[in-house]
Each structure stands twice: as C-alpha cells, then as structure tokens.
C-alpha cells in the first residue's frame, strides 16, 4: 500500500506522544506534536465558518456543539484559571467548522460521506468536512484530543488529522424482543455508538418471545404479542424519538422485521398468520413459521410493510429470513397440498424461496432496499442483485470467510457479523479476538472485496437486558468499531490496549457503565446509584 511506511511511522510517533493521542477509533492519518494549546472552557466556542454550508440553525451541528460542550466541560466550575492577557498564541478560543455540502435536515444513508480533516496549529483550529455527518465524526475526534492537566487546565496538542471510514456500514444490533430494553437504554446506546463512530443501529425489534413494536395498522400485534402492552412496548412516539436521536448523531436506524421464522409473537395478534402444526391428522395446537400458502398472509404483509416503510426513513429494511424450521410446514396438510400445486416436490427451501421472493417484491414496490440474513442466499432464494446479505454463521454450513467469498462471488454486497456476536461471553480479554478479525480476509478478487460494505456487532438478547447491556457491550463493541473505521494495518494489540483502556475510562467519565479490560483503575469510576 502506497504511503503506508510513512503512515506507520506517524502511528508510532503518535503512540509515544502520550495522553493527547488517546483516540478511539484511530484516524486514518494523524500527525501530532508535543506542542499544546490551552483551552478555556468559559470562552471556548464552536463556530461556523462564514463560507460553511451549515450555519446556526443547523440542528445536527447546533445540538452536537451543545453535547460536546457538556461532555468536555460539563462538570467544570467556570471561575478559575482566567486567561492571562497576552498568551494568545498558545490559546484556542474556538473550533471553526466548515461544511461543504448543505443538508442538515436529511437522514444519513449508506452513501453518506463521513470524511473530515481537523487542523490544530498556531494559525487555526479548524474542522473541515464534506457533510454534517463528517463534521460529527470530527467533533468526536476533537473531543478525544482535549486533555486535562492535574491542575484542571484543558489542553489540546498541535495536530493534523485526515480521516475517513474504511467501511460505510458500521453497525450495532440490539434485540428488543427476547428482553425489552427501555427507551433510555436505546438512546444511551446511540450516544456511545457515536463516541465509537458507529453509524448503523440495527434494531431487531420483534422475534418469537415478544412483539414490542406498536403498529398503528395492526394494534393487536402489540396488544397480544408484547410482554406487557402497557409498559413493554415502543409507541410510534418512541420510535420517532429513536430515529431522530440517531439522526442527530449521524446514525441510521435499520429496522428488522424477521420472517417467516422467528414470528411466534406475531401469532396472537393476527389469527391465521402462522402455520398450524399438525400431529398426525390433527392440529397440535402449536404454531410454526408464517403460513406461506395463504393469500391473506401476503395481504397482511403488504399492509404491514407499507406502515414500516413509512415509519422508518432509511432506504434499507432488514427482512430477516434466518433459521426457518421446516418441520411444522411439513406436518401441515394445507401446506403439503400447496407444495404439490406449485410443483415444489419435497423441497421446502423452494417454499421458503416462494415466500421470501413474494415479500421482497412487496417491499421493493415501496421503494425500499433490503438486508437479509445469509440463509436467504444459502437457500438460493432468487433475490434482486442489490440485496445485502448479512453473514452471521461462524462455521456452518461453511466457515464465515468462505461464506463471504461465496456471497461476493455471486455479486451480492455483504455485511459481516459472524465473528462479532458479543452476546457470546468468555472469561478474559476477548476483545482481542474481536479486534483481530479482518473482514476482507477471504479468497476473492478486489471487486469481491469491494462488495463488503461493513459489519455489525450483535448483542442478542437471550441473556441481556438493561441490567447488563452496557457493561457487556462496552468497550467490547469498541473493538469492532475500530476494525470497521480504521486502516486495516492497525493490528498492534499493545497499541490498541493502551488506547482502549484510556477510552474506557473516558466512557466512564461520560457516564457510560463500560466494564474494565483488565486489572487497574480510572480516575473517575462508575458511581453505584
């Protein structure tokens, strides 16, 4: 790689430049020196450059300025050290922001440009970005550059950063079906995602155990399918709040409504939707996946996904499609008849394909793109070429690197999650394994590699709710965040450990209950309430 030698030497130089370079994730290009400038909280301001396309009134940035001011100086009492007249050369009063392209009221998308440059030197303290989304990333970096002396004075070192993400889709999955997560837990997670430069919140909203999404078209889904229809639900207002909170942090909300399997909680609210399983010649009283043999099913899905398409602004919807159990379908005489009629023989994968294809057509008609779990590809469902395939199975039917190879050689875009199931816990510093994953370490042409749009850290909810979500997620998910943002050559574990341990303390300072990486302490510890 051209210029990599220079880059690496910069990296090492930075590694020894002490506290000022405790950045996470590490930027693409950084040059920093020991020379530092003082920052006085009471005079410091974020300012729009006169020629910036974003100006006062740009909600995304106005609110970000307020957030970062609070994060940096929130707990500072403002009546000590006063600026001493003439020391202006070594003092920074403002960060000037210049955004090139207008667009403060839009939603971030897969195509959003997140590049920025940050220049802190004698002449300027300047953040330049193509879009507001890049400015958000730069503000986060800026906030991580500021440090505090033991006497309480704030400093920033002379620094030059040019930064951009390696992958455009850097996601985190939360599962709100197996355990309900209070709205506050989701919003807090979005904050920490922004600190880590994640940009996609994959919201696995519903699944077998519960249906907390309150549908206005089909209110019975929640009334009968949630754990508690009064408390364990997400109202339309909640969903709006999540989407806007995420937007203000440059985070997309990718909503998942997984079918035809993982749908037991849909059943009580929509009679006739699920397949009745049979025991011999009689219904057993239990239900299987969505019934793909009935027209009613597709009418329901049309109406339901019409609502979903309008509620969630992102171009993509996640349609699931994983782990469809065929035994119930097999037992049902109506389905057997349908199979015969369609000429599917005994191949239930064909039935699955039939269902998925019909569903994909419905969703395409609403002008949406879609992401599906890898089974849809594995089972040879005919999908549109722009479908995104999410690879989640570590070893079966093939190792995930092989699966990445297969998916991309078929020309599909791929998302990697298989090695990043953070709900799987083990003793010790497992963040190292998470960190050392190389998403492009599979056999394939450069064109194939270019089809990998990113990855996701997944926190499935079997054993996770708001009691343990935060420490289980952070800072482990941070390892994924850096892998997806930073240069692929960044693989030195010692260097990562130093910065991640520091970043974890910074998270604690920001009020995030992030668990320790190893023996040690932080100046500000988590305060038990």
């Amino acid at each position: 790689m051209a210029g990599s030698a220079l880059w690496f030497s910069l990296l090492l130089a930075a590694a020894f430049a002490g506290r000022a370079t405790a950045l996470w994730p590490w930027p693409q290009y950084i040059q920093t020196s020991e020379q530092s400038y003082t920052i006085f909280p009471h005079t410091f301001q974020f300012q729009y450059h006169v020629s910036s396309a974003a100006q006062v009134g740009c909600s995304v940035l106005d609110e970000a300025f307020q957030r970062y001011r609070d994060l940096l100086f929130g707990s500072v009492s403002f009546h000590f050290p006063q600026p001493m007249g003439k020391w202006h050369m070594s003092e920074k009063n403002s960060l000037v922001i210049l955004v090139v392209t207008p667009g403060c009221d839009q939603f971030p998308s897969l195509e959003s440009v997140e590049n920025y440059t940050l220049t802190i030197n004698d002449e300027q303290c300047f953040l330049l970005s193509e879009t507001v989304w890049g400015a958000l990333r730069g503000l986060e970096t800026f906030s991580q550059l500021i440090w505090r002396s033991p006497e309480g004075t704030f400093y920033i070192n002379k620094t030059e950063i040019e930064d951009f993400p390696r992958f455009p889709h850097r996601g985190l999955l939360l599962d709100t079906s197996r355990h309900y997560l209070p709205l506050a837990s989701i919003l807090d997670t979005l904050d920490v995602m922004a600190y880590n430069k994640f940009n996609v919140f994959h919201w696995h909203l519903v699944d077998d155990p519960s249906f907390p999404y309150e549908s206005f078209t089909f209110p019975n889904l929640t009334k009968k399918g949630s754990y508690n229809p009064a408390t364990h639900i997400y109202t339309a207002q909640d969903v709006k709040e999540v989407i806007e909170y995420a937007r203000l942090r440059g985070i997309r909300v990718l909503a998942e409504f997984d079918t035809p399997g993982h749908t037991l909680s849909w059943g009580p609210g929509v009679p006739g939707l699920l397949t009745p399983c049979y025991s011999g010649s009689h219904p057993s009283g239990t239900f299987g996946p969505v019934n793909p043999a009935l027209n009613n099913t597709y009418e329901f899905m049309s109406a339901f996904f019409l609502e979903i398409s309008s509620v969630f602004p992102d171009f993509y919807l996640h349609l699931g499609g994983d782990e469809v159990d065929f035994t119930c379908w097999k037992s049902n005489p109506d389905i057997q008849a349908f199979m015969k009629k369609k000429g599917f023989g005994d191949d239930f994968k064909k039935l699955e394909s039939f269902y998925i294809q019909t569903l994909l057509d419905i969703v395409s008609a609403y002008g949406k793109g879609y992401v599906v779990w890898q089974e849809v590809f594995d089972n040879k469902v005919k999908v549109q070429p722009d479908t995104v395939i999410q690879v989640w199975r570590e070893k079966m039917p093939v190792r995930y690197t092989k699966e990445m190879e297969l998916v991309t050689s078929a020309g599909f875009r791929a998302l990697l999650s298989a090695p990043w199931y953070l709900n799987h816990i083990t003793y010790g510093p497992d963040w190292k394994n998470i960190y050392m994953v190389e998403p492009l370490a599979f056999e394939g042409s450069p064109e194939q590699k270019a089809l990998v749009i990113g990855g996701e850290a997944c926190m499935w909810g079997e054993y996770v709710d708001s009691t343990n979500l935060v420490p289980r997620l952070w800072p482990r998910a941070g390892a994924v965040a850096e892998r997806l943002w930073s240069n692929k050559m960044l693989t030195n574990l010692d260097f990562a450990y130093k910065r991640l341990a520091h970043f974890r303390c910074e998270l604690l300072r920001r009020g995030v209950q992030a668990q320790p990486l190893s023996v040690g302490y932080c100046d500000v510890e988590f305060e038990q309430t």
Binding site: R178, H179, Y180, P182, P209, S210, Y227, N228, T231, H232, N423, H424, I425, T426, Y427, G428, P429, G461, E462, Y463, V464, D465, S466, T467, N468, V470, P471, R472, L508, Q513, A514, Q515, P516, L517, S518, V519, G520, Y521, D523, E525, F526, E527, Q528
Partner: protein, 540 residues
Amino acid sequence: MEHRGLGWPRLPRLLELLAALAVQAVRASAVAAASPDLSLWPMPLSVQTTPRVLHLSPDNFFFGHSSTSKAGPSCSLLQEAFRRYYDYIFGFYKRHHGSADLRVGVELQQLQVSVVLDPECDAFPKISSDESYTLLVKGPVASLTANRVWGVLRGLETFSQLIYQDFYGTFTVNESNIVDSPRFPHRGILIDTSRHFLSIKSIFKTLDAMAFNKFNVLHWHIVDDPSFPYQSITFPGLSQKGSYSSSHVYTPNDVRMAIEYARLRGIRILPEFDSPGHTQSWGEGQKDLLTPCYNGKDPSGAFGPINPIWNTTYSFLSKFFKEISTVFPDEFIHLGGDEVDFDCWASNPEIQDFMRDKGFGRNFKKLESFYMQAVLDMISAINKSSIVWQEVFDDASKLTPGTVIQVWKVEDYTQEQSKVTEAGFPVILSAPWYLDWISYGQDWKKYYAVDPLSFEGSQEQKKLVIGGEACLWGEYVDATNLTPRLWPRASAVGERLWSHKDVRGLEDAYRRLIVHRCRMLRRGIAAEPVFTGYCDEDRM
C-alpha cells in the same frame, strides 16, 4: 437437621424440636413450591401453605414485638430491619392500584416478632450464630419466632418473599407455616477490591443482595498485588503508596460503616490479608518487607513474596495484624497463603543461607510453612482464628489444629476435601463457585448442581465442611459489572448452602429463580436475566 463444623454449642432444645418436625415436613415443601405465587429463595427447610389467603394494606400493617419477646423497640437492629422490610414489601410496588376491597377475606395486620433467648441486638454475628426461625402466617396477627435476632432477619426476608400482589393489586399472602434453618453456617461471597476498587456504595449494594439470598459472610479480599486500598492506622504508608490513588482507599470510617451495615443484615465481614504471596502492593509503602529477587549475584530490582527470614517482617506483621484484629470484630481473619512463587526466594542468597541454617534443603514449601506457622501463631496469640487457602494445608507438614482450609482449586476438589477433613481440619468450599469465570448461557445450573458434601469421607469428615463461598475475583470486574455478574448467579450458591440437600430440582429452581431475580430488580439490585423473558419493573 444437620449440625456442622467447629463444635460450637448445640442449639437449644426448643429449636431442636422444631427442626425435628421440620425434617418430616420436607416433603411438603415440594408440594408447596408448586403454588404459582410461592417463589421463595432460598427454599426453607419446611413450608406448609394453604390456599387460604390474607390481605394486607400498607396503611394498616406493621411489624411489632410480642409481649413475651426478649427484644423490644430498643433493639435498633430489628427496628431498622422492620423499616427495610416494610419498604421491600410495599414501597417498591405500584402503590395506587385502586383501593382493593379488603373486607373480602381476612386481613393480616401485624407480624409479631418474638425473640426467645438473649437477642444479641448489639452483638456481631458469628459462625455459631443461631439463624433458625419459625414463621406462622395467619390472620390477623402472624408470628415470627427465633432464638436470636439473626433468625428474625432471615425470617423477615422469608416473610417478605411470601407476599405478592394479586390480579387486582391487593397485597396478598397465603396462610403458611414455615420452619427454617441453614444447612451450613458459613455462606459467603468473596469480593476483590485490589484488582479493581469497589466503592463503599457498591459494597453496600452487595450486602443488600446478600441478605436477600441469606448469605451471611462477606469475604473481603481487600488487598493483593495490584493495589492496597485499606487505610491502615498503624502503617498509613501502605495505602498512601500502595493504593491506585488517594480516592481509591477505604478509610477507617468506610470500614466501620461496612461492618455495621453488614451486622444490621446479619452478615459477618471476613477480612483477608493475603501473604506471603500476592503482596506486591505492600512493598510500596513498607520498605524491606518483600524479598529482593536476584539475577545471578545482583538484585534484579524486582521483588517477590514477603521476606520470611527477617525479624523485622514478623514485628511488622505482628503490629499490623494487631490492628486488623481490633478493626474487624469477626473471630476469623483470612490469611491467604495461596500461590506463593518460590523463584524469587530461591534466587536470594540470604534466603539460601537461611534455608541451609534451618536444614530446609531445597524444599521451599518448608520455608512457606515456617512463615505461615509464624503468622498463624501470631493470630492465635491475639485470640483470633485463621482461615487459609488450601496450599497452606497442602504444603505443610503440620498445621495448627482448627485452622480453616478454603478449597479453591477446581481440579480434584472433592479429593482435596477428603484429605483436608481426614486430617481433621474444617473446610470452606469455593472451587466450583468461581463466578468470575463467565461463559455463555445458564451457568447457574452448574453452580446449583454442586453438592458440597459429595466427597468420599465419614460422617465426621462431612461435619467439618462449614460451608462455602461464591468468589468474584476482580481481574475483569469493577463497579460497572459487579452486580449483574454476581446476581442471580450467586443465588444458586446461596440456595445450595442454605437449603436442604434434597432441594435440587432444576425446573422448580428455575421457576423460583426468575421470580427471585425480578424481586431483586424491584429492590434496586441490577440482577441480570436468567433467560429470555421479562420483569414488570423492566422500565425502571
């Protein structure tokens, strides 16, 4: 009823009698547990409930002292407990759930507490403390009878667990008769405040949750290699130089508060000052305590375990443990003694000379025993008893009788239990209960399935097992993840150590544990989920 341990005085006759009845009633407990609303944890020795329900109104219920009780309103331990349990029962529920019609059925207006013997209101709990109680729930006045306040505390916890809100939100309890006492007298949780500091608030939270699970010993592994947060009055340099920072310390006042907080919940604080290994942080504040390691003929600059050959070592330790014995009221001090690394000792020429003089040859276990025996004698001289990790037994040729051995190595731990008890030493079991070793899924089942007496040995040997401890070592644990990592996983150990050995059905345990976990959540303990599902209070 099983009596175990050190030969402390046998329980008075009344409770013996009750207990005898209880054994016969054990079968009934399985039946009672089938009632959907009864989710006691840990399961009492004997439970009899009826379908007859009583109702309680927060405005018309109180805890009172029976006129024949040896304890009264001057017993602040009980007054405090009454206030706590009133809150646990009523305070955290949905209060204004409409006025339920209490006229239907019988109302329960009072729980009358009766302490039969000298209540020990102002005493500290001990290993021999009597925790047995009987609880008779009937309207309008229920009664809780125990020999000492310690039994009252356990009974109040059980009483609070019996009460539930019915479909209309009315506080409800079934008429019941419970006779209960612990299977083992030492039921501990180990926390490690050296690898990561835990604030006093976190320790309080842990003590709260321990009381909900009828644990009665907080084993406070207070110092170790990484840091020395205990602020010593005699040697202030130890924490000044050995703590992570000046805010990562336990002041004498912090320690006093923890001891009192624990006492009010019937929990002993067992301090551990581990030596001669695991002492790197001591060296910062106490010069010439640790062994200088050698690289050939020259000191390498590194230090090893405490230096066992200097008189100054022992005069330091003697003063230090004298302080510890006055600061911590418990009869026991944990002296550690685990994982002593002999390399540094072996490298040191002075130690080599000493070994030769003593005729130890190259056997450093003899040096280790020499050191441990000296410390054990010190502890005896100040009228305390000692607990040590298993290596002290493994490596010793002879050891002060009565020294309690804590078995922690998971490999062949039942064999170790056999050996230790065969030699006549009391045992605390921890080996299968290292809760810091996390894995995916429901590992509580593994902890639950352990039986502490499943080793080869005589009845006399089994009686030497005084209990066990769930250990949460601190390499990867601090205040951010302590509570969800500990609870409800430690609850599995809690029931194993309290309940009858025949209480081991996983299905029933699962059903009760998920309710118990929600109960802890309601009481402010962030106990993690056992599996997919929900609690009413998830939104808090």
